[in-house]
């Protein structure tokens, strides 16, 4: 069974053993890493098809993170190449982190670099992160409380007022739908962590 298949089957110990074996056998680290990413793509597809569920996404993300920790130091400058950069955080007033962390994991697995400003993040922290990372083309905002819609809106407005008009803004979280996109002025929303990856790729 290939690394990609093992990862897609969520066989954590087998994946790690095979990764270590291939490294010691002299297989090019980038090839091993790409196999892991392929495994994550299969997981994403299974999730989309309703065959996998949130726990499966979390398990696959944990496996991916563990093997990435082993492979990435071996990649050198080649490993620094990503699809793009995303600034991510949970808006001010909201301390929920699970959804944000899952989006972070899925974006990383999708080969995005993620600048995570954390939870209960003030408007300025998003604006500053975007200014410090002018190559970040996407801002992803998480919100799990209806009472924080105003924070979403304030963040979107601050980003626009700061002149960062090229940045596309995705929102997500339990009570987020098109009406919240309309209210906040964001560009779009994602229903799942996997959606965030697809949308970010489209927006890049």
């Amino acid at each position: 069974m290939s690394i990609a298949e093992m990862l897609a089957n969520l066989e954590d110990e087998a994946v790690m053993a095979e990764v270590k074996k291939q490294i010691s056998d002299g297989v090019e680290p980038m090839k091993i890493f790409e196999a892991c990413q392929e495994g994550m793509n299969i997981v994403g597809k299974k999730f989309q098809d309703g065959e996998y569920f949130v726990s499966d996404l979390m398990m696959s993300s944990a496996i991916f993170k563990d093997v990435s920790d082993v492979i990435k130091p071996l990649l050198g400058t080649e490993g620094e190449a990503t699809i793009g950069k995303v600034v991510l955080g949970t808006v001010e007033g909201d301390i929920h982190d699970i959804g944000k962390d899952l989006v972070h994991a899925m974006l990383s697995a999708g080969n995005f670099e993620v600048i995570d400003v954390g939870i209960d993040a003030p408007v300025d922290s998003f604006v500053n992160a975007l200014k410090e990372n002018p190559d970040a083309k996407v801002l992803a905002l998480s919100c799990l409380l209806t009472t924080c819609y105003d924070s979403l809106k304030a963040t979107v407005e601050a980003v626009k007022e700061a002149g960062l008009t090229d940045v596309k803004i995705i929102i997500g979280g339990g009570p987020v739908d098109q009406s919240v996109v309309d209210f906040s002025g964001a560009d779009t929303y994602g229903e799942t962590a996997q959606d965030a990856v697809f949308i970010a790729k489209e927006l890049m």
């Binding site: 954590d12 726990s55 301390i95 929920h96 982190d97 209806t146 009472t147 009570p175 919240v180």
Partner: protein, 375 residues
């Protein structure tokens, strides 16, 4: 406790709705924090100044009831609510005016409070002893004492006021199945990983926990002459966990909890957050027309009705964003579409999960008004 005619009629309507004998859809109130803003209180004052807070809660429901009937209450007043939430989730809960701004909603802190070694401890010590040792990690025991004193002092007055105002409280307490409690204590990410790696051990742990948990819940319900209570499911939703985890760790305990409530004369309300589509047919395993599925808008009730027929009543499911961001027209349209899909029999209209703290009053009114007026 002495009831009154309207209270008895409403309770009768509730029971008829479960039996699919209701003439019109019934309605249920479900906003633990919603009254605060409308009644001019901060969330902090609303939950800590319990006498004023409870009065605001009843007054708010009465204001709604003046516009359209509120038949039953599905969420009790949220006095010192961060304390019972902390006990239900086995997590630290940040409270307004303490760790959060005065007008913020209480929020559960997602943190690993229980270590992986603690599974063995529970197996060795039993749940009651472990819980006693664990609770101080997530809760100040002085706060727990305050909550008990508050419940003893004000609980009976509140129960009387609910009856005097003719509102049957159909959910006196929330039973947290062992899966949800462990998920809160371990933190979701850690616990979901455990479910893949230690499935059998967690099942053993849950088998130790369940009898103690359910006995405690039943005792509390008996003492308060409850009509029924919640059997909660949020992180154990079908959309959240794989079928193997659900079949092993979630459903058996939810079903057992429902059965136990029924055996003791209480009506179970399965409070189902997130999406339960994959496994919705499993509720056919509950005795016919004995319980309620209380969903939040993410479960497809139209499909559920097709699969479950008149076996189980529904309570739901107007989504929170609609009540906060929508208009009376959009709310009304949603309720009409829902009733067209599932029919009025065996249907109680309420918000999906909790009515949000910033729900517009006119939207909540529109929800109830449409429920009773729509033909």
């Amino acid at each position: 406790m002495q009831t009154n005619k309207l209270y008895d009629e409403r309770l009768e309507l509730y029971k008829k709705t479960i039996k699919f004998e209701n003439e019109r859809p019934s309605t249920a109130y479900g906003g633990p924090a919603t009254p605060a803003a409308h009644m001019g209180m901060t969330i902090k004052d609303y939950i800590f100044d319990t006498k004023r807070g409870f009065k605001a809660y009843i007054d708010y429901i009465n204001l709604l009831n003046n516009e359209a009937p509120v038949d039953v209450i599905n969420t009790p007043y949220a006095g010192l609510f961060h304390i019972p939430i902390s006990m239900m989730w086995l997590s630290k809960v940040k409270a307004p005016g303490i760790e959060l701004p005065d007008n913020s909603l209480w929020q559960v802190m997602e943190k690993e409070m229980m270590k992986v070694e603690d599974y063995d401890k529970i197996l060795e010590q039993g749940w009651a002893e472990f819980q006693q040792e664990f609770l101080p990690k997530v809760l100040d025991m002085k706060d727990l004492q305050k909550f008990i004193e508050y419940q003893m002092a004000e609980g009976p007055e509140q129960a009387k006021a609910m009856i005097d105002n003719s509102y049957p409280l159909v959910n006196s307490m929330g039973f947290t199945p062992p899966f949800e409690a462990l998920c809160g204590a371990r933190s979701m990410t850690k616990f979901f990983m455990d479910c893949y790696k230690l499935l059998d051990k967690i099942k053993d742990v849950q088998d130790v926990m369940f009898p103690v948990q359910i006995e405690g819940a039943l005792q509390a319900m008996k003492q308060s002459n409850a009509i029924g209570g919640w059997v909660g499911g949020w992180r154990g939703a079908s959309g959240m966990v794989s079928p193997k985890i659900w079949d092993t760790l979630v459903w058996p305990y939810m079903k057992k909890a429902g059965d136990k409530l029924l055996e003791n004369g209480f009506i179970p309300i399965f409070h189902l957050d997130q999406n339960w589509d994959r496994d919705i047919e499993r509720f056919l395993e509950m005795p016919r027309q004995s319980c309620i599925l209380n969903t939040d808008g993410m479960t497809d009730l139209k499909r559920a009705r097709k699969l479950l027929g008149d076996h189980v009543a529904f309570m739901g499911d107007v989504p929170a964003p609609l009540l906060s961001n929508g208009t009376p027209e959009t709310v009304s349209d949603y309720v009409k579409e829902l009733l067209d899909s599932v029919g009025p029999k065996g249907m109680m209209i309420t918000s999906g999960c909790d009515t949000p703290a910033n729900a517009k009053f006119e939207n909540v009114v529109a929800m109830y008004k449409t429920a009773v007026d729509y033909k």
